[in-house]
């Protein structure tokens, strides 16, 4: 059985690399991931860019509608995830539009931040 942990945070953006907050976050996550890794349960873990960097994709009547930011629709809730590797946002949006969720609810396209593994 696989489980997804939804990691919430109290700020929109991640701390800036090079700041004490960033280092602290990396250390704390490094320790947790090491434990998960040793236990053999870890598949993947990565931080997400700020919610303000998100784009919400909806397809209605065959037309793709984009909105800046996360979905504000209270009737919608997180129902799954897909991770894709794309050259840029245009490509990601194109693929997001083919997901069934885009037709009956929405797909939030949020960049995954590439961080170096803690040394």
């Amino acid at each position: 059985m696989k489980y997804m942990f939804l990691l919430n945070r109290t700020t929109d953006a991640l701390p800036e690399p090079g700041t004490a907050e960033f280092d602290q976050m990396m250390q704390a996550y490094g320790a947790a991931l090491e434990t998960l890794g040793k236990a053999g349960v870890l598949i993947d873990c990565a931080p997400l860019a700020a919610g303000s960097a998100a784009t919400t994709v909806r397809v209605r009547d065959g037309e793709t509608i984009l909105t800046d930011g996360p979905s504000a629709e209270i009737k919608e809730q997180l129902g799954g995830y897909t991770i894709v590797a794309c050259a840029d946002l245009d490509e990601a949006l194109k693929w997001a539009a083919i997901m069934p969720a885009a037709r009956d609810a929405s797909v939030e396209v949020r960049p995954i931040v590439a961080v170096q593994a803690p040394s």
Binding site: G18, A49, D88, L89, D90, P111
Partner: protein
């Protein structure tokens, strides 16, 4: 001298930011570098003279500034800055001459539909139009800090989400072009609207919108809707001098001194509109331009071809099925066939939730009631329009009408 220099620099801003954006791969870095180059230009050019290739000079200096900054940031250990610097340094051999594809890519970037509409407008005015944050803030009546934050946030999203700097593929082009045209049209209507801010800033927005539309037509020649938009802006802005009286009050189209309309702009707008219509691919901007042309070709208000205008509005509804377009059609119909014909439509629209609080609808209804000599009702409707707190220019117009009807 200084105003001339400002204008010269602003005329190169778009191409300079676009080239730097290609070289650095980052809009914020590009803009900062060009801004710094402009400061140097303003220091040096008054005494040393303007270089023959002013744009090339600005790009050269901006590139050095960008490199300097990236070196400093790379020392601080930013991985992003290090890779950007690498791009810029290998770009030493890379062609730094401005390219049309760059200027177009910058426009597509700033008008990307993944950004909020207000961010697109602000970004286009800043990065493409070269307006300062303070000027944009003044135009949209928000504090400068708010506008600065909006711009920073938009540029951060472009970077974080990797919104591409390129001309979209053929299949995406129509939708993306219409996103650009929408932003340019919004900039213009913001400037054209006499409802807020001071006249100078407003005129600046209209000029910027026309320059942007001209740029898009130049970069994507033969796109009928881009031509239609440019024609529309020229035909509408040609009436600028006649739109307000000496006290700044709005002068209705029918009361405007047509001798004060800019004949050169009208001729250019009509020629562009004709060329766009010959392409045989009509669209909303061409229709709006055709409506504007109906007014500009009429030698007097009385000779306006209202029947044709009503038909054009009916056609426009197919593209924009909004109550506002319907209200405009009603007004045209009232002019063509008599006030009663228009009033029927406006009465129905008066209850539309989207229009209830729109003073223009009430003013139009009141005007028709006045023409039908239903003065008492007209005064009531004018009064309710006043309660919606219309723009100062409209307010004094309404007050005058109520006085006329009451006496």
């Amino acid at each position: 001298m200084s105003a001339q220099l400002d204008q010269l620099i602003r005329s190169h801003w778009w191409a300079a930011v676009a080239t730097l954006c290609r070289l650095t791969g980052d809009l914020a870095a590009a803009e900062d570098a060009v801004q710094e180059a402009c400061v140097v230009a303003l220091e040096q050019w008054p005494s040393a003279g303007v270089p023959d290739n002013a744009l090339g000079w600005l790009i050269g200096v901006a590139r050095h500034k960008a490199l300097d900054r990236l070196r400093r940031e790379a020392i601080r250990g930013s991985k992003e800055a290090a890779s950007m610097r690498e791009a810029l340094e290998t770009g030493a051999e890379q062609d730094a001459s401005p390219r049309a594809a760059d200027t177009l890519s910058l426009m597509f970037l700033c008008c990307h539909p993944a950004l909020s509409l207000e961010a697109r407008v602000a970004l286009t005015l800043r990065s493409v139009g070269g307006l300062s944050t303070a000027e944009i803030a003044a135009a949209f009546l928000v504090p400068e800090a708010t506008m600065a934050k909006r711009l920073v946030r938009a540029k951060a999203k472009i970077r974080a989400a990797r919104i591409p700097f390129r001309v979209p593929d053929e299949d995406e082009l129509p939708a993306r072009l219409s996103a650009i045209l929408r932003v340019v049209y919004l900039v213009f209507t913001e400037g054209h609207m006499a409802s807020r801010g001071d006249a100078l800033v407003r005129g600046d927005l209209c000029d910027t919108a026309i320059a942007l539309a001209r740029g898009v037509v130049g970069l994507l020649p033969g796109e009928p809707e881009a031509m239609g938009l440019l024609a529309l802006l020229l035909l509408t802005d040609a009436r600028r001098a006649a739109r307000s009286d000496d006290l700044g009050a709005l002068v209705l189209l029918e009361d405007q001194d047509r001798g004060r309309w800019n004949a050169g702009m009208i001729a250019e707008g009509e020629a562009i509109l004709e060329a766009s219509l010959r392409k045989g691919r009509p669209g909303p901007y061409q229709l709006r331009a055709a409506i504007a042309a109906c007014h500009s070709t009429a030698s007097s208000a009385g000779r306006t071809d209202w029947r044709q205008i009503a038909l054009l509005y009916a056609e426009l509804i197919r593209y924009e099925p909004t109550p506002v377009v319907e209200a405009n059609r009603a007004v045209a119909l009232a002019m063509a066939e008599g006030p009663a014909a228009g009033l029927v439509i406006l009465d129905a629209l008066a209850h539309h939730p989207q229009l209830q609080r729109w003073p223009q609808l009430h003013i139009a209804r009141a005007e028709l009631l006045k023409r039908l000599r239903r003065h008492g009702e007209a005064i009531d409707v004018y009064t309710s329009a006043l309660e919606l707190e219309p723009a100062p220019a409209s307010r004094s117009f309404i007050a005058r009408r109520i006085r006329e009807l009451s006496s």
